[in-house]
Each structure stands twice: as structure tokens, then as C-alpha cells.
Subunit: 133 residues, 2 copies
């Protein structure tokens, strides 16, 4: 199967402009073209785009995605480096999750105090902002 850029955009969740942009900056290989010169994305192309969007969701900067992308063309010899990038990213995602979890706890704490204010349980002079701020 091959897909027009509009279809590829729909399936990947990226915009048409972003697809062309990713091509320009060498995040993706230029896809095949049909007789009229229009891009024709393959399932493989879409698979790679899918993985790229996952990397992007992890917050990986485009620079590193480009590095990873370019390593793919260097065959098995680059597998070690590619793995290292993923392991590195794995760590940064884990760290970020921990950070967000901590923020979540703080938000819960604050929200809880707003709840108490609503129930007018707070008879002291303490203000909501005074708790953590």
C-alpha cells in the first residue's frame, strides 16, 4: 500500500507541513513519488513516522532524533550507538515521570487545601497560598 501525504498525515497524527518539514531536516527519507511527482508513503514510512512520534512524545529533541535516524543507514555497526540513545532516553523519561509524580503530589496537596477552604473547615489564619508558597 502507498499513501498520499494527506493520508499519511491522518495516520501519523502529524500535519502535512510537519511531514514535509521532517523530510527537509532529514528525519525521514524522502518517500517515493507517484507519476505526478506527489509523495507516496509506504507502510514502512508510516512505521518509522510512528516511532518518531513516540520519541517526540518523550521529549527527545529533533537533533537527537536526527542522529538516531541517520544511524539507521549505517547498518548493524551503529546498533550499539542507537541502543545507547534509547537507553539514555529511557532514563530521561523515567526521571521525568518521577518529576511529574512529585508535581502531582504537590497539586493534590494544594487542591486538598482548596477543598478545605470550600468546606470552611479552615478556622485558622492560614491562607491557601501560605501552605506551600
Amino acid at each position: 500500500m502507498s499513501y498520499s501525504i494527506a493520508e499519511a498525515a491522518r495516520r501519523s497524527g502529524l500535519s502535512i507541513d510537519t511531514l514535509r518539514y521532517y523530510e527537509r531536516i532529514k528525519l525521514v527519507e524522502p518517500p517515493a513519488r507517484d507519476a505526478a511527482g506527489r509523495r507516496a508513503y509506504t507502510d514502512d514510512d508510516l512505521g518509522w513516522l510512528g516511532f518518531l512520534t513516540k520519541l517526540r512524545l518523550t521529549g527527545m529533541p529533533i537533533k537527537r532524533m536526527r542522529e538516531y535516524a541517520s544511524l539507521r543507514h549505517h547498518g548493524a555497526a551503529s546498533a550499539g550507538r542507537r541502543k545507547a540513545i534509547l537507553v539514555d532516553q529511557r532514563q530521561s523519561v523515567a526521571d521525568r515521570i518521577a518529576e511529574l509524580q512529585n508535581c502531582l503530589d504537590i497539586l493534590d496537596y494544594k487542591i486538598d487545601h482548596y477543598d478545605q477552604v470550600e468546606r470552611k473547615v479552615l478556622g485558622t489564619g492560614a491562607t491557601v497560598e501560605g501552605i506551600s508558597a
Copy 2:
């Protein structure tokens, strides 16, 4: 206690430039000044900065932080709205954690396959990129 801008930067983890920037865009109240006109941050100021950095870590856009900040000056009447902002952000943080968790799983899966390649266990025609890409 009061703190110079350098000390406030050190304690908040923000840069001096960022502290002045936050003041310009009304994320923080202009701090008191000493006799020479230099900023003198209070512990309260630092507390608020601390909470702001938490909100920032959650990915809250500055626009919404500004809204939250401005509501603080409207007293108890704005508590409902402020709580709503936090509840909203809580949800978005929870969503983001789930998203990252999913990415983590995908990274683990990929890394696992690189491990297998390293151990030369992969005797089939499958390539590492072929797994999700």
C-alpha cells in the same frame, strides 16, 4: 530575611534573567527594594517562586500561570477558579504520565530487541527497526 536577586536565583533554581523576566510579565509581584534600589526578595517571594517552578515543571503555559497569579490578588472570591486551574492541570499531568509510561514501554521493547541483536540470538530475517517501524 531578605535575599539579593543572585541569592533568590540560587535558591529558586531560576536564572537572574528569568526572575526579572517573570516580574516583567507579572508572574511575580515586584519585590521590595533596598536603599540602593536593588531587589530584596522575601521568604514569601521565594515560596511563590517555588510553587511557580513546580507549575512550570508540569508544563503549564505561562499564560495560565499568569492567570493563576493574578487570581491570587482577588482574594477568596477567586478560590474556586484557582482550584479549577489546579484540578485541570492535575488531569493533564496524569495524562502526561500515562503517555510517558506508554513511551517507556515502547523504549523497553526496542531496547530489548537491541539486546537480542547484541547476543546474536536473532536468527530470523527480522530487523530491529522492523519491529515497530
